[in-house]
Each structure stands twice: as structure tokens, then as C-alpha cells.
């Protein structure tokens, strides 16, 4: 096949703009492309990923860095002076021991990596920070995204702080709190009649037509996706520079799961953690579970679905990285599970009442799948396990609004309280 030449960017990035990144590499056919706002392989349409020439990095160097994702800047496609750029400084979120939830589920050693404490209350601040760095280096005029909500919040906020125009596209039926959490930062929130896959299609078309637009999860996706690696780095560092035995991760497009695995592999290669086996588990909502369906059917191909679930941030019916999720979960001895909306709601309340963590529906999906994996014997309860909470429950209040209520409404007297039987 004769390869068409890759289009060049109009502006040449400054020296060192992408740190130790050396180029873009097709994950499917290994075709190489120069660093630029490109995301699809010109040979086979496969996803382009960042290739690096990593220097020797020590634990001490990382530990001396700031308490945010830039402590890992040597392993990301960002410049050495990234801390000088206005950004939201996400990351280094808490890794909490979850003994109460562990007891409830029968898991001996359980942790929650709680990314709801990022600046806009979801893990998306990590990926957006990396995408923003790339957008700035490419001198983009507009910072944009299609989103199921959390990404829209993160893009709108990061763009505001960086002083770059933002345009974010969301499905028009998105939860109201997520809409408000974007609209407060930008005057260009666009609601599209359709589901996330429709919004995504529109964004891809706009990215092909508009000059100078950086769609974080489209044309600067290779840079954006690397931000998810920091979740994996942090978990290992916070466990005392070692990998957990098992990790449960929500799956929408599948990018986060593949990047956490990539982070673990990089830490092993760099000698920052000991090489050991670990199992990766994917979590989906039954109403949008194309990867879980393929896993359970034992097939490699993922058939797209039309999403119908309260877990809207996971409602991607055509997950681009789904086949890689299947590979990783199978190769590591993990699994892909899915839970009903009812189980999602129950799990949100379970996490809140055992660990004091209010998670959004994606986290409910993940904890719900953790519970189901234990019950079905697919997860070894004697092994150290980490479950990722990707976002805050205040964004999806409606999901549990009918699940919880005041226990009693009483007059202000002791007698009235005593009559409730709560004491």
C-alpha cells in the first residue's frame, strides 16, 4: 500500500515541548508518525500512542516533585517546565484503606483510590491537564471535547484557568448537575440531541473541519490518554512502590484501564517497582456492557450497543479501546463484569455508608462489580485489591435521590425523638 504523507502542523512546537516523547506509534501496525495533533494511523486507522525514550528515573526524583501529576512529568508528553503553565494541578489523590467495605465484602486487604478529590471532582482533570499542555504547545485556539459530563467539567475549568476558549459538547439528556458544572466555567456548552456516540461522531467531524481546535479526546487524544497513567503511578507509589495484586477499573472507552496497565508496565521496566503478577478487572453497567458481553462470550470482537443505563459517564456503546481491555483482563487473569442499575445504586450507598465516600454512578458500577466478582468467586478475596473511584456523587445526585431519605421528621422534643426508635 502506498502511504499518503501525514499532514504537517502549521506551527512547529518548541524544543522539548513533549518532554521525553519521541513520536507517535500506531498500536495496531506500529506505523510511526511525527509528534503532532494526530490520533489515527494514516495506514490502518489504528490508535496512535506516544512513544518515549525514557531517561533513568529514580523514586527519589519523583518523590521530590510536586504533590500532583507533574511529579511524573518525565514519564508524560509534557515539557520540563510544565509547572510554569497555568493548570489545575490535579492528581496525588488519596488512596484510602477500605477496611469497612472490605469486611462487608469479605476482602482482606482493600483500598479505594479516590479521584473524586481532583479539582473538578473526577479523574478527568488528569487527562485534561496533559491534553491542555499539548494544545498550548500546538498553539490551539480552541480547547474542546465531546463528553458524558466529567470531561466537559474538566475541560471547561482547565480552559478557563489557562485563558483559552473552550467549547464542550454533551448529550442533551445529561444529568443537570454535570451541565451546571460545565456551564459555570464556559459560555460555549453545546447540548446535542443524541447519545454520547452521536456527540463523539460530531466532534470527530468538527475536528476534521476546523483549524486550530484541540479536541482533547479526539485530535490530541494520544497526549490526553497518557494522563490516565498517573493513576497507576500514584497507586504504586502510595502502596510504598509496589503493585497491588488486583485492581478493579471502570470501562467506558477502555482508555483508563489500558493506561493504568501501561503505567504498571512502565514502572516495572524502569525498575521503580518489583515485577510481579497482577490481575486487572473491568467494570461496566449492564445497560452498556459491550466489553463484558464479549468477555463472557469468549470472543475478541466487540459489537457496539445502544446504551441504556444510569451510569452515563460509562455509556459509550462503541468503546474504542474495548479490545485492548479484553486482552489485558484475559492476559492478567482478571475478568470483565457488569451490574444492573439497581446494583449501581446499591453500591453507591454501600460505599458511602462503609467508607464515607460518595461516588458517582461510575464508581457505583465499579464497587458493584467488585461485589459481584467476589460473590462469583472470580476475585481472590485474600489478595490485596484496589478499586478506583473516578468521580463524585454530587454530580449524579438523581441516581440515589429515591434510594435515600430522612429517617424521620419530628417535632423538636426529646419525646418525639425517642418515639422514632433511633436512639
Amino acid at each position: 500500500m502506498s502511504a499518503p504523507t501525514v499532514e504537517k502542523t502549521s506551527t512547529t512546537p518548541r524544543e522539548g515541548a513533549f518532554g521525553n516523547a519521541t513520536g507517535l506509534l500506531c498500536r495496531e501496525c506500529s506505523h510511526q508518525v511525527e509528534l503532532g495533533p494526530f490520533y489515527a494511523c494514516p495506514e490502518c486507522f489504528g490508535p496512535l500512542e506516544i512513544a518515549y525514550d525514557f531517561p533513568a528515573v529514580t523514586r527519589e526524583q519523583i518523590e521530590a516533585g510536586p504533590a500532583n501529576i507533574w511529579r511524573y512529568k518525565a514519564l508524560l508528553p509534557v515539557p520540563g517546565d510544565i509547572e510554569q503553565s497555568p493548570n489545575m494541578e490535579p492528581g496525588f489523590t488519596r488512596l484510602l484503606r477500605a477496611d469497612n467495605l472490605g469486611r462487608e465484602l469479605g476482602i482482606d486487604n482493600l483500598w479505594v483510590k479516590d479521584d473524586s478529590t481532583n479539582p473538578t471532582n473526577s479523574f478527568k482533570d488528569r487527562v485534561v491537564a496533559c491534553a491542555l499542555s499539548a494544545a498550548v504547545e500546538f498553539k490551539a485556539k480552541v480547547f474542546a471535547c465531546p463528553s458524558t459530563g466529567n470531561l466537559a467539567n474538566a475541560v471547561a475549568a482547565a480552559g478557563a484557568r489557562a485563558g483559552i476558549k473552550t467549547v464542550v459538547f454533551i448529550p442533551s439528556n445529561l444529568e443537570k448537575p454535570k451541565q451546571i458544572n460545565s456551564a459555570v466555567y464556559t459560555d460555549s456548552l453545546v447540548a446535542v440531541n443524541g447519545n454520547y456516540d452521536d456527540v463523539n461522531k460530531l466532534a470527530s467531524e468538527i475536528a476534521g473541519e476546523e483549524e486550530g481546535w484541540a479536541f482533547v479526546n479526539v485530535n490530541v487524544r494520544p497526549y490526553y490518554a497518557e494522563g490516565s497513567k498517573t493513576l497507576g503511578y500514584e497507586i504504586a507509589e502510595q502502596l510504598g512502590w509496589r503493585l497491588p495484586d488486583q485492581i478493579v477499573i471502570p470501562v467506558a472507552s477502555g482508555s483508563q484501564l489500558t493506561k493504568v496497565h501501561k503505567a504498571f508496565q512502565e514502572l516495572i521496566k524502569l525498575g521503580l517497582v518489583e515485577d510481579k503478577p497482577y490481575k486487572v478487572y473491568g467494570a461496566q453497567a449492564t445497560g452498556c456492557s459491550p466489553v463484558s458481553i464479549a468477555y463472557k462470550a469468549g470472543v475478541d470482537a466487540i459489537r457496539p450497543v445502544k446504551p441504556d443505563t444510569i451510569a452515563k459517564s460509562l455509556a459509550i456503546g462503541n468503546p474504542a479501546d474495548g479490545i485492548y481491555v479484553l486482552d489485558i483482563c484475559r492476559q492478567t487473569g482478571g475478568a470483565v463484569e457488569d451490574v444492573s442499575d439497581e446494583e449501581v445504586r446499591d453500591a453507591i450507598v454501600l460505599l458511602a455508608r462503609t467508607e464515607g465516600i460518595f461516588t458517582e454512578t461510575a464508581g457505583g458500577t465499579t464497587v458493584g462489580c467488585l461485589k459481584k466478582l467476589v460473590e462469583s468467586g472470580q476475585l481472590d478475596t485474600s489478595l490485596e485489591t484496589v478499586v478506583i473511584n473516578t468521580g463524585h456523587g454530587l454530580k449524579t445526585l438523581d441516581a440515589v435521590a429515591d434510594q435515600v431519605s430522612v429517617a424521620a421528621t419530628i417535632d423538636p422534643s426529646y419525646a418525639a425523638f425517642a418515639a422514632t426508635g433511633i436512639a
Binding site: 499518503p4 499532514e7 458524558t148 452521536d198 461522531k201 470527530s204 472507552s253
Partner: protein
């Protein structure tokens, strides 16, 4: 049947930079054959060696992903808009 086809950036070297071109055919397969007659080699980018849609390309007839329809046998009525889009974007 005359249809219009939206061409993604990475295939525009085949169409002389055009982002939208016209083609003929009553099914997507016929449209792609016709397109290849006008822009030699473009079909081989969209289909794999087995003649199936590549894994990382989405083709829409109107607003519908052809994987939800009849794939390459999806009907392409007169005036239909066909979009070829890389399938890499997405969320978490």
C-alpha cells in the same frame, strides 16, 4: 444512486484535499467500489485485506453506524450522506 461521502483528514490525500465527494451505488459496498474508481486506493484504507470494515473506522449512512445496519450491504438511497470517521475518540 448519487450519494455524498465525507472524507476524514487522513484520507484527503486521495481526494486532492476534498473533505466531501460524490459517489454512486445502491449499497455501501457499491459506493466504496465507485469511490475507489475515482480515487484509486482509498477503499483499501477503509476495508481490510478480508474486505471487511477496518476495526478502527466507523462508517455512518445518515446518522447510523452501519454496524447497527447491514454493514457493507447497507442501502444508500439517493442523496444519502455517508461519513467515514476514525473510531478512536471516547471517554474513560
Amino acid at each position: 444512486m448519487s450519494v455524498s461521502v465525507r472524507i476524514p483528514t487522513i484520507l484527503r490525500t486521495y481526494t486532492g484535499g476534498e473533505s466531501e465527494v460524490t459517489a454512486e451505488g445502491t449499497t455501501l459496498a457499491e459506493v466504496l467500489d465507485h469511490l475507489d474508481g475515482s480515487y484509486s486506493g482509498i477503499k483499501g484504507r477503509i476495508l481490510d485485506e478480508a474486505g471487511q470494515l477496518r476495526r478502527f473506522v466507523n462508517v455512518y449512512v445518515g446518522n447510523d453506524d452501519v454496524r447497527f445496519l447491514e454493514n457493507l450491504e447497507t442501502a444508500t438511497p439517493e442523496g444519502t450522506q455517508i461519513s467515514v470517521i476514525p473510531a478512536v475518540a471516547g471517554g474513560a
